[in-house]
């Protein structure tokens, strides 16, 4: 369970100009929920996702993951939590260009501090097979299609068996059909693996297909 309480995010743009990205957000994400954060661009939905994903810190307010108050954790502990608890899927895929498909998928395991119950390479290969990427193990990201890259990104997000998948406009860079395939994959993972999934989107059609729709506008949840 992820709980956000009285959360604010503000940016000091200038000496006297403060931009408020998030205003007094109170939100609880239950385990195993498939929700969407939906809103127009600039509404603060990405900022919200970054805070949920522990990439960013709120200016005010409290983030609790399970029973842990995130503000009490060190940078290393937060890194470990990102490593083990969260899997990110980005609009830009964000694969590392100089690493192969296999290496990209295995990378989170390299940064793992705990003893892994699985062999990262075997697991990566099984994800490659599961996502229809057979034969692309040793390809570099720029040699495969956008849809394939996004599936590699999802495989990378899944290798550490996270509780939470955060997808920021995961279909934004894909054509409708490929995008639909990615969404279907996320839905399937949610069903079979009982992973909590949060999709950030500006597309109401995508949002409509999720269990819970969190609408955000001008930094406030509607």
């Amino acid at each position: 369970m992820i709980k956000l309480q009285s959360l604010w995010k503000q940016y000091q743009l200038d000496k006297e100009l403060i931009f408020t990205a998030l205003k007094n957000i109170n939100l609880t994400l239950k385990d195993g929920e498939f929700s969407s954060i939906v809103g127009p661009s600039g509404s603060g939905k990405s900022t919200l996702m970054h805070i949920i994903g522990l990439l960013d810190k709120p200016s005010k307010g409290k983030v609790t993951i399970g029973d842990k108050d995130v503000s009490m954790l060190s940078d290393d502990e937060i890194s470990s939590l990102r490593n083990e608890f969260v899997g990110f899927v980005f609009q830009q895929f964000n694969l590392i260009p100089k690493l192969t498909v296999l290496e990209n998928i295995m990378m989170p395991a390299v940064y793992a501090r705990k003893r892994l119950a699985f062999d990262p390479k075997e697991k990566a290969l099984s994800l490659i097979k599961q996502f229809g990427l057979d034969g692309k193990e040793n390809s570099f990201p720029n040699k495969i299609s956008g849809g394939q890259q996004q599936r590699v990104a999802i495989a990378r997000a899944l290798i550490m068996e996270p509780k939470l998948i955060l997808a920021d406009e995961p279909t934004g860079n894909l054509d409708t059909k490929t995008g639909q395939g990615i969404l279907d994959l996320l839905h399937k993972l949610h069903k079979t693996e009982h992973i909590t999934v949060v999709v950030v989107t500006h597309d109401p059609i995508i949002a409509a297909k999720t269990e819970r729709k969190i609408e955000i506008k001008d930094g406030e949840i509607l």
Partner: protein, 402 residues
């Protein structure tokens, strides 16, 4: 995948993508390490060379010279360094009475020009007694060395080194029994010595000397004084003991500061310390290029970090800690620096191999350790700031960076 392997692989992959840049950056370290290692190799070679030169004369050779030229193991200058006194026959006979002295020979030396017909060569006249040859381990190659007889008779003969013989006559054997003119006087070449090798770098070039009975040389040296006395100690007596006896004997006649009694080891260490200082200065100058190389690495690492901000963000998003990022970039700068170090070392090794026939320069294990140690240290010192910059980037700013 092993963590360290993964980090190294990242570094090497980055190099292979930027081959030109990697090479140029490591070139700074390459040049620095090359220069330092080569200079150390030269220094070592020089030391060995000088050692060999003096050792061929025997360690139990003691020189008595006017003045105090050595002080505290190094050469000194000033009026008292050269001294005003000159030795004479009395000193020789006094020292010859010492039981510990095997040979006591006077030395008169003078720069001269030696001529045959039209050709003439510059050389050093070394006038002494017959025991000079035994004292300096010199043997004749052609003809004979002079003996007591020639000294007593003031024979107008010379024994010459093979180098000057070759210069004058084209071949050493042709010099025998020929006449040479020295300062307008004619002398007969009685013998040509075996080559002793060496010369230069403070070592005496015995092969270019013209040896003459000191009695004969009195035509150039009317006051019958000697500028030095060479004493060969008996081999079973310690050099220090002999030196003390010589000093005690001479102190009956001269003041303490009027003369010096120097053994080979002292002379060697004094010469060695001069070259040591010169070598150290050169190495220090060369080391500056290592710092310049380090700055080059630092510069390129800052560029690399900036180019890869997005990648740093991605790595942080999937769980890399600050230290993971720090190590990754540090590994890269160290690898870059060691790459330069190894190339510099190999290049220096190649040059040493090439010149070894001419000069006994060599690379010892200390130099190898120094080259690798210094280049890794430079990698750390100049890599840590860019790496720290990378590690301290905020994950969210980094991943949003375009």
């Amino acid at each position: 995948m092993n963590y360290i392997l993964f980090i190294l692989k990242s570094a090497i992959e980055d190099f292979s993508r930027n081959k030109g840049r990697t090479f140029l950056t490591s070139m700074g370290i390459l040049i620095g390490v090359f220069a330092v290692v080569l200079l150390i190799a030269f220094g070592l070679g020089l030391k060995k060379y000088i050692n060999d030169q003096f050792e061929s004369l025997g360690t139990n050779l003691i020189r008595v010279i006017p003045g105090k030229i050595l002080q505290g193991g190094s050469f000194r200058s000033g009026p008292s360094a050269l001294g005003a006194i000159r030795f004479d026959e009395k000193d020789i006979s006094r020292l010859q009475r010492l039981k510990s002295a095997l040979y006591v020979v006077p030395v008169v030396s003078k720069s001269i020009s030696v001529s045959i017909g039209k050709g003439s060569e510059l050389g050093d006249l070394y006038a002494s007694s017959a025991d000079i040859f035994a004292s300096l381990n010199l043997k004749s190659q052609y003809g004979d060395i002079f003996t007591r007889k020639e000294v007593e008779k003031r024979s107008k003969i010379v024994v010459i080194g093979p180098k000057i013989a070759e210069k004058l006559f084209g071949s050493a054997d042709l010099a025998l029994d020929k006449n040479v003119k020295i300062e307008g006087q004619t002398f007969k070449v009685m013998g040509v010595l075996e080559a002793k090798g060496g010369g230069g770098f403070g070592g005496p070039d015995l092969d270019s000397f013209v040896y003459m009975p000191y009695t004969t040389a009195q035509v150039f040296n009317p006051d019958k004084k000697f500028i030095a006395i060479i004493v060969k100690a008996k081999s079973d007596i310690s050099v220090d003991q002999v030196k003390k006896e010589i000093s005690d004997s001479l102190l009956k006649r001269y003041k303490k500061d009027d003369f010096s009694v120097i053994d080979q080891a002292e002379l060697l260490s004094a010469i060695g310390s001069i070259f040591g200082i010169m070598n150290a200065v050169l190495i220090a100058i060369a080391a500056v290029s290592l710092i310049v190389g380090g700055i080059g690495i630092m510069n390129i690492m800052y560029v690399t970090v900036t180019e890869r901000i997005k990648e740093i963000g991605i790595r942080r998003a999937i769980g890399a800690r600050k230290t993971d990022i720090l190590y990754q970039f540090l590994a890269e700068s160290i690898a870059l620096s060691i790459l330069g170090g190894v190339m510099g070392l190999l290049l220096a090794y190649g040059v040493v191999l090439l010149i070894q026939k001419l000069f006994p320069a060599y690379i010892d294990t200390g130099s190898v350790a120094l080259a690798l140690g210094v280049s890794s240290l430079i990698g750390v010192l100049f890599g840590v700031f860019p790496a720290k910059k990378a590690a301290d980037l905020s994950p969210i700013d980094a991943i949003r960076y375009e």
